[in-house]
């Protein structure tokens, strides 16, 4: 394969500084958020007219973007930076070049129509205000995504589209299938989003910047970096999950549970193309390597074939459209993977054409569903008589999808064929893939654009209501735009597509789109596609009747895998929690102690210092008699403690141990500590004796075998603590604190008892904290003692 040399982009005229028109870009995003959250209130106020302001917003942004178009088309991208976390290189950075302008116009233009359409489609739905909130939120997020000039802000908008998509798919939340589909879409795209975040950070590390305009010039630096491969894998995971590429394609048909305006907008024209946008955007940064090219071509190719094949096996209008969308997305990824200038141009043209005709067809499907109450193509016939405007839109979009002459889809198809037929080792495979999908597109176009409306039939499916203007105007407008683009490609599409291709290829492109290329091989192939597509269409009925034969295959499909994974996750979590959190205090303590010992052993295993005992034996002779006596007092006391069966005796023994330790403190120069210890020990014994008669008597509760286990754990713990002390005492204590307090406690604190001065002067605030702890304990004790039983017998 010819390795594509990526020229370094030189955007000399990049205006990253503050400009008035670019500041409006920031305002546009902000206005989107404001409108989104105002939508429920507007609905309460305006009722069914709420679609007017909601549609005006994208329309105004659309017009505003058009006003920026001349500057961008002249070749100077616009930039706008709001400082966010500049120390981390994260900024709210907007960047408008040909590629983002193409997407932004698509989002706002299509968004305007969808807002109008939704007003008709969901008329009377009491949650319409909420619907507009989600939809506007999505539109804003999508707009932010394509306008982002910073990888981190791009990621944030990317996640926002996933979340709003989740809310929109789950809009019909009374149905369990809706909720499951929404969750599935969120989990799949959310996992991809996590991968993408890691990937983008790696890209930022490799390119040493998160700013897109800088990154675009550092392609060689990124692709030659050691982190390139992991970054690529992670970024591709994000893009593939979002754009429903194999094997993550399964969420998209399930997402058709959303209301049709959402399917048309998110799951056909805009959001699912975010992955393609990302790939296109990063082409100058990460593209051009063999791993990039082959991964994209193979994954995209498989997706194209799979989507086309599955589309033929369904009879639900939206399912057919969803699978052909997957196929089209696969084709877009494949073309991005090829990466040559003709391939990228073809990708852009096909992307625009697909958005126009597939959006129309989705809206048509919505109208049919709304008017007849069914989406099953077997029950739909003769609709052209009853809903003529919708039928006309469907016919026009169908022509474009099939790639018939005066339509924009025709140009897209021609360019795709031209691009895949270029010299490359995979050429015939790529051609077969695009030819197959082309054939299926023709068949589906005939099925949806022609048969259900214009097919020969005496009857027509009974209607629940006639066509409404709000419902048929948007698809008609959209399909007419598709025709207009086909008739005047040089005027409408060429300038912006040139700049978009420049953003991906790095150098100015001079291609000219034309409807007529003359009689050549590609035209012949186009005609052959249409002819064979007609054959497929004739046999589509019998294919669908065999569809259930393949059902056993789907048992091993990714959708089933996903369901098993989710189920396994929940049962696994339940089991682990039930094991770890078992409710037995002893088990918790044993776990803590064993973890502590293991961590200690681990850290001392390799480079831990060895324990030296030889010189310590000499110290044994240093022991004074009264010290020995104290030790000989404590150990028998402990033995008695374990043998005692009386509560009073054990309390007395505890007293002995406490007093002995207090004596240790006196012997080693800590009279204050000793005094406190004596006092506390006395108090404890007093409290014990006071409420002894209310405490339970001794009983043996633990089994003998368990007891050995606990003895072992206890001995291990005690040994570990001894080991720590011995090890620590091998080293001299090097702390300046002793000297500091010794020097200053009288001079600064005016006290001769250094410990007291520390407590009440140097560290007085800590002592205050200690008093607070005691006060809280006292309040707790009082509360418990005063607590009266309620009638039920429980406190």
């Amino acid at each position: 394969m010819r390795r594509k040399v990526l020229n370094v982009i030189s955007y000399e005229k990049t205006r990253d500084t503050f400009t008035n028109e670019a500041f409006l870009m920031f305002l546009a995003i902000l206005a989107g958020l404001l409108f989104a959250f105002a939508a429920p209130f507007l609905y309460r106020w305006l009722g069914r007219w709420v679609y007017v302001p909601m549609a005006l917003l994208p329309f105004c942004i659309f017009l505003y973007l058009l006003s920026l178009a001349p500057a961008v088309l002249a070749g100077s991208p616009l930039g706008e930076v709001q400082k966010w976390a500049p120390s981390l290189g994260i900024n709210l950075h907007f960047y408008l070049d040909g590629l983002s302008l193409l997407f932004a116009l698509l989002i706002t233009g299509f968004g305007t129509l969808i807002m109008v359409y939704a007003g008709g489609y969901l008329k009377g739905n009491s949650l319409l205000g909420r619907f507009y909130l989600y939809l506007t939120l999505f539109m804003t997020a999508m707009l932010g995504l394509v306008l982002s000039g910073n990888l981190i802000s791009l990621f944030i908008f990317w996640e926002l589209t996933s979340i709003s998509s989740y809310l929109l798919i789950g809009f019909g939340h009374e149905q369990e299938s809706s909720r499951n589909s929404a969750l599935q879409a969120l989990l799949v795209t959310g996992l991809g989003g996590l991968a993408l975040m890691a990937g983008l950070i790696l890209v930022g590390m490799a390119g040493e910047t998160y700013t897109l305009s800088e990154l675009l010039t550092r392609g060689d630096m990124v692709t030659s970096h050691a982190l390139y491969l992991p970054a690529l894998v992670l970024v591709l995971l994000g893009a593939f999950t979002k754009s429903a590429q194999f094997p993550f394609h399964f969420w998209l048909p399930n997402a058709m549970a959303a209301p049709t305006p959402v399917s048309a907008y998110l799951h056909s024209a805009t959001m699912v193309k975010a992955g393609v946008y990302l790939l296109a955007r990063l082409t100058p940064v990460m593209g051009g390597t063999e791993v990039w090219q082959y991964t994209l071509m193979i994954v995209g190719g498989i997706t194209t074939l799979l989507g086309a094949w599955l589309a033929l096996q369904h009879s639900d209008l939206k399912a057919i459209l969803a699978y052909t969308t997957i196929s089209a997305l696969g084709l877009l990824v494949t073309m991005t993977g090829i990466g040559t200038a003709p391939a990228l141009e073809a990708m852009l043209v096909f992307l625009l054409a697909h958005a126009l005709y597939k959006g129309t067809l989705f809206l048509v499907a919505g109208n049919v569903d709304h008017a007849t109450g069914t989406r099953d193509i077997k029950q739909l016939y003769g609709l052209a008589r009853s809903i003529r405007p919708t039928a006309i839109a469907a016919l026009l979009a169908g022509f474009s999808m099939a790639g018939v002459l005066p339509f924009f889809g025709f140009i897209g198809k021609e360019l795709v064929y031209e691009a895949v037929l270029e010299e490359s080792p995979l050429r015939w495979m790529l051609f077969a893939v695009s030819f197959f999908s082309g054939m299926v597109f023709v068949a589906v176009a005939l099925l949806i654009g022609f048969r259900i409306f214009w097919g020969r039939s005496q009857l027509s499916t009974p209607l629940q209501h006639p066509d409404k203007a709000l419902l048929y105007l948007p698809p008609v407008v959209l399909s007419l735009v598709g025709l207009l683009f086909g008739l005047l490609p040089g005027l409408l599409a060429t300038p912006i597509l040139r700049r978009a291709a420049q953003a991906m290829l790095g150098e100015e492109q001079v291609f000219e789109l034309a409807l007529w290329h003359g009689f050549n091989l590609v035209l012949g192939l186009s005609l052959l596609t249409i002819a064979l597509g007609y054959v497929v269409y004739r046999f589509s009925g019998s294919l669908q009747s065999h569809a259930n034969r393949f059902e056993r295959l789907y048992l091993f499909g990714p959708d089933k895998l996903y369901q098993h994974a989710v189920k396994g996750l929940i049962t696994g979590a339940t089991k682990i929690t039930a094991t770890i959190q078992n409710g037995y205090l002893r088990n918790y303590i044993v776990t803590i102690v064993i973890t502590h010992i293991l961590l200690l052993a681990l850290s001392l295993w390799k480079d831990g210092p060895a324990l030296e005992m030889s010189y310590r034996l000499e110290q044994l002779s240093d022991i004074r008699l009264y010290e020995l006596v104290l030790i000989l007092l404590v150990i028998p006391a402990l033995i008695f403690l374990f043998q005692s069966r009386s509560r009073l005796t054990s309390i007395a023994i505890m007293g002995i141990i406490g007093y002995s330790i207090a004596l240790f403190y006196i012997l080693f120069g800590a009279p204050d500590v000793a005094a406190t210890q004596l006092l506390i020990e006395t108090l404890t014994v007093v409290i014990f004796v006071l409420i002894l008669h209310k405490l339970p008597a001794f009983q043996y509760l633990t089994h003998a075998r368990e007891r050995y286990k606990y003895v072992l754990v206890s001995i291990a713990f005690g040994a570990a603590m001894t080991y720590i002390i011995l090890l620590v005492k091998q080293y001299p204590l090097d702390s300046p604190l002793k000297a500091y307090y010794g020097e200053n406690s009288y001079l600064l604190g005016q006290g001769r008892n250094i410990v007291n001065v520390i407590l009440v002067d140097f560290r007085a605030l800590d002592t205050l904290g200690e008093i607070v702890v005691l006060a809280v304990a006292a309040v707790g004790i009082v509360a418990m003692l005063k607590l009266r039983m309620q009638k039920g017998g429980k406190p």
Binding site: T571, Q581, N582, G583, Y584, L585, R586, I589, R616, Q619, D622, I631, V634, L638, R647, M654, F664, Y665, G669, D672, V673, Q677, I680, L683, T684, I687, I691, K694, L695, P696, F698, Q699, L701, Y710, V713, S714, A719, T722, K729, L733, S735, L737, G742, S745, Y746, L747, R752, I754, V755, L759, D766, T767, E770, L774, A777, A778, I781, M784, K794, P795
Partner: protein
């Protein structure tokens, strides 16, 4: 003495942990008290021992004269002992209350709030 005390502390820790691991409330309290004693002694010994010479500045001097004991671990210990007492008093009363209310002296009878139901 520096050699013997670490072993004494180890024995104290062993006994206290063993008591804590019992199911009986009363032994749990005994274990807690003993654990506190062991921890305090642990801190004290880690901070080095000085025979005699307490951390007090003589009337005749402005600064402390060696040998004097390190005051920092002592200050820490004082705080620890007092807070340990707070915990002891609280747990004694708590256990008395639990015994009165639920009539049990077995920790294993009190695990219902921590357990989750296993589905299916």
């Amino acid at each position: 003495m520096e050699v013997i005390l670490p072993f004494l502390i180890g024995i104290l820790f062993t006994s206290s942990l063993y008591l804590i691991l019992h199911r009986h409330f009363f032994k749990l309290i005994l274990g807690l008290i003993l654990f506190g004693l062991a921890t305090n002694l642990f801190l004290f010994v880690i901070g080095r021992l000085t025979r005699g010479g307490s951390a007090i500045i003589p009337k005749t001097e402005d600064m402390a004269v060696e040998p004097f004991a390190d005051p920092v671990p002592q200050a820490l210990l004082l705080t620890a002992i007092v807070i340990g007492f707070g915990i002891q008093a609280f747990s004694i009363v708590l256990i008395k209350r639990v015994y009165q209310s639920f009539g049990t002296n077995d920790l294993d009878d009190m695990n219902t709030t921590d357990q989750i139901e296993e589905k299916e």
